[in-house]
């Protein structure tokens, strides 16, 4: 099956995948356009709440960021399905080269940063990387980027924290507790605080970077509007309403704040996950413990 002789069924499935990649984002944009409240001037608000589900302890608000992140997840799912559609041993599709390139790069990254033992982490790392990058890039479409909501990023950070603690516990709960008294027992409270500072700093770093980009973009947009109305306001008729400085200038900043900063923060979140998780686990201590256990059970 080469590029030219794809069967009809293959093509139809391809088209469905491509449509399903684009449709969620289009749906998100339409939803945003329909529900956006009309505002004048500068408005920096949090995620808009669509509806709340009553729950026993506290009501559960369904916000823009949850909807957008679900749409992004659907998009990523169909990107993956599209890239792996028609995989075979004789590589004859362009997308297969691309998919293999991604897998090889991520495998190399994980191997370099975490070591051979953690190779099973590669799918998790690339999932976090893709989710974070696509979420930040969704602001290019005018959607509310889920990563500028502390709740979304905080959730990821808590997940990473659970994984870190699991790998620290792997050498035994006593060894985990003893880790707090290193290097001196006096430092235990500080070690305890720094343990919980890890997820907080990860969440704040990602969220702060994306949110500050949004805030600066909004402020700059209103400042440019003020500047152009100041310059052209004296002119008669429709000439006074020409947004002279709002052409192009915000787009240049968007390249930095949305594209570069979003991708960089995604990469950094994934890198920090790898560094923290592999740093939490001492493979030699784990092997010694395993041997000791095996020796005990033999007796």
């Amino acid at each position: 099956m080469s590029e030219s002789e794809k069967s009809l069924k293959f093509k139809i499935v391809d088209i469905i995948y491509i449509l399903m990649m684009i449709l969620p984002l289009v749906a998100g944009v339409i939803l945003k356009l329909l529900t956006k409240p009309a505002t004048e001037g500068v408005s920096i608000t949090g995620a808009q709440i669509y509806f709340t589900i009553p729950m026993p302890i506290q009501d559960f608000p369904v916000t823009e960021s949850q909807i957008t992140s679900l749409l992004v997840i659907i998009t990523i799912l169909f990107v993956c399905l599209y890239l792996t559609h028609g995989l075979n041993e004789r590589i004859n599709l362009k997308r297969q080269h691309f998919a293999e390139m991604i897998v090889e790069k991520v495998d190399k990254l994980v191997k370099d940063n975490m070591g051979e033992y953690f190779m099973g982490f590669a799918p998790f790392i690339v999932a976090i990387l893709a989710l974070s990058a696509f979420s930040s890039l969704s602001s290019l479409l005018g959607l509310y980027p889920p990563t500028s909501d502390i709740n979304v990023v905080g959730g990821w950070a808590v997940l990473v924290f659970i994984i870190i603690t699991y790998f620290k516990m792997k050498c035994g709960p006593l060894a985990y507790l003893k880790g707090f008294t290193e290097p001196v027992a006096l430092l235990a409270p500080i070690n305890f605080v720094s343990e919980f500072a890890t997820p907080v700093s990860m969440a704040f770093r990602h969220y702060g970077n994306v949110l500050s980009g949004t805030v600066i973009s909004v402020l700059l947009g209103s400042a440019l509007a003020g500047l152009s109305s100041m310059l052209l306001g004296a002119l008669p008729g429709f000439l006074a309403d020409i947004p002279l400085f709002q052409f192009g200038i915000p787009a240049v900043l968007s390249i930095y704040f949305d594209v570069f900063s979003g991708c960089l923060q995604a990469f950094i979140f994934a890198m920090l996950t790898m560094v923290y998780v592999s740093g939490a686990f001492d493979i030699t201590a784990y092997m010694q413990r395993k041997e000791r256990k095996a020796a005990k059970s033999k007796k």
Partner: protein, 96 residues
């Protein structure tokens, strides 16, 4: 009532401005990191990729304190006034 409102809003804005003084630290730190990375690349151009990756990581970590300040400032500007004004109205209602 007006005076109390003015003090609340003004102090929130002042606090946000003061919090962002923390921006100095990450600025100096990241500048140092980038300067050293440039030196390293100048000495050994062949390890440009590794140096750049490590530098970006280091910059991100150095940025953390600045971002803490940013979060505090954003809370002070967008969240704190609403809560404090609500508290003020409540106490005024209790007194008067």
């Amino acid at each position: 009532m007006e005076l109390a409102l003015g003090i609340i809003l003004g102090c929130c804005a002042l606090g946000a401005g003061l919090a962002m003084i923390a921006g100095i630290g990450p600025g100096i730190g990241e500048g140092n990191a980038v300067a050293k990375a440039c030196e390293a690349i100048g000495r050994q151009p062949e390890c440009k990729g590794d140096v750049t990756t490590t530098m970006l990581m280091g910059c991100a970590i150095a940025e953390t304190t600045g971002l803490y300040a940013l979060v505090i400032a954003i809370l002070l500007i967008f969240v704190a006034p609403n809560i404090l004004v609500d508290v003020l109205v409540e106490t005024m209602g209790l007194i008067g």
